[in-house]
Point group: C2
Chain length 313, copies 2
Amino acid sequence: MPSVTLKDVAKVAGVSYATVSRALSGSPEISEETRRRILKLCKEMGYTPNSVARSMVKRYTNVLGLIVPSLNNPFMSELTGHLEIYARNRGYTLMVCNSSYDYDLQKEVFSLLVSRQVDGIIMIPVGHESYEPLNVLTSQVPTVFISENMKDYPENYVSVNNHRGMQIATEYLYSLGHRDILYFGARSDSKTHQLRLDGYLSSCEKLSIEPHVLRSSYTRSSREVGYAMGGEYFSRPHQETAILCAADMLAIGVMQAAFEAGIRIPKDISLGLRQHLLLRPAPDRPHHREPALPADGHRRGGHAVGADQKPGS
Amino acid sequence: MPSVTLKDVAKVAGVSYATVSRALSGSPEISEETRRRILKLCKEMGYTPNSVARSMVKRYTNVLGLIVPSLNNPFMSELTGHLEIYARNRGYTLMVCNSSYDYDLQKEVFSLLVSRQVDGIIMIPVGHESYEPLNVLTSQVPTVFISENMKDYPENYVSVNNHRGMQIATEYLYSLGHRDILYFGARSDSKTHQLRLDGYLSSCEKLSIEPHVLRSSYTRSSREVGYAMGGEYFSRPHQETAILCAADMLAIGVMQAAFEAGIRIPKDISLGLRQHLLLRPAPDRPHHREPALPADGHRRGGHAVGADQKPGS
DNA sequence: TACGGTACTGTAAACGTTTACACTATTCTA
DNA sequence: TAGAATAGTGTAAACGTTTACAGTACCGTA
């Protein structure tokens, strides 16, 4: 508990604490001999640099903030994991906050991270408001958004190409012989979902097939919503040979509904989602089958296409 | 960027910065009038308290460190999410680090968090070594372990009752009529897996059924390992009516293998895993079926049992 | 010998807070 | 009315670093 500081080491070494600091920071203006002696002493005494004090004088913390709506969603949790490793390898530590899909909470944790003096914030925004009201916050610290989940565009964001991704998925199903493709989406006015739907619609037009769109009355693309929509859909007569889901969690819910309705994927119907297509043999083509999960763990490999897929990958 | 400090506010307010600090910290030794005036001014000037400076003088940071092997595992990512919310509601911010199942990296990030001056560390330990070599680290900051993944016991840990959990699972399958229950586990000498296996074995003995244990030659309980084991198993003649998996990820891999082998769960075979049992109708009992995913999102509800289940929940 | 340069080390201020202590003004008590 | 108690505010030190600047000692050169 009574942690050893620079001063302690300096006292034992019989030098000033500036010298110790220099030895540790690899400053060139110090003799090799003193450096070795001091480093050895630091190790012996179990000295741990206090990065809070360090941040105080240098004006940065080497800490990054990450705001995600939830960690229950595999997309977000895996993203978080990879981000942490990437950041740490570059000297940054990650502070993670849930916004719990709550617009106000999102602002709250943003301010929290700002007061924590993070050097930057990465966030998957929630709410379908404009980015504009967030400007007063994001002006305080460099911020980059993930996804285009709002009506307008922020200055800095990175996103997959939702529009093109959905086009690719639609065209792929078409190339397999599907002509009746159902689009399954949550009722969301977010940019993301607008782009996905537009991608589907534009492909339908281009391919001269009739679009079939089913949008739930809920705004969240959750598993529960997909389950409810799927249950409803499968309980009635339907003609589509493939379903294209606007979001992964939706697709998972639909899969469950299909399972319970005794409908087999991909035998009875094909299902398109982000990381994989579960494909039904096309009406007039040889049998085609895709494993539910790949064995090699390289989920981004193969030729899977879907709504969230980056173009060209 | 040139953030406004206590000093700035004090200058404008015409008081000392100690007064401003007191106004903000809710100190009683200040007049209500000054407090209101200063708080208003703080808001106007966009003052954000610098918690780095604050941590400098108070000797704690209100930051907690969390070390997990991976965030790709739903158990760990969901745990992380809930921990973050719980911590934040109590004034703590979470720093998350991956150990990537690497014992040395685990030690490295531990030191990193210590130098970050976190007030405490929660970790899911990796490696099957003793806790003992970690003592030099954990003596530096209050630490609690999750799971009993090592040979001996640390001072502070929280874990599910692995032994009893597996007993419950075994007995449940038995009560449904299963007499040939296969135990599927990775070849791990960790305490956790030892306890789970023991739980299974003790139940078998108590129920007078013969234990069937299949352990992979890999030590990781990954999806890939489960897939490989399942593929191997399903390709040969087998008599078991139920499979009990020692870990979730293992079970997921087995499910995939079953899918590819054309074996239906729970129609052809039952599968036991942490959060759910996928049950095959018992040989001499009425049909019993469990959905693959519950519709209500309350995954801890119901009567699911399995290796990781807390006793009594 | 004196001077300048080099190589190293020490001194002290700064980062933005909190808080013990000192101080002043006001009110209460005797 | 003096003195003490009280309420409010200011002063300054401290937290553990980094770093500009000021030394000091030594060496080489003129």
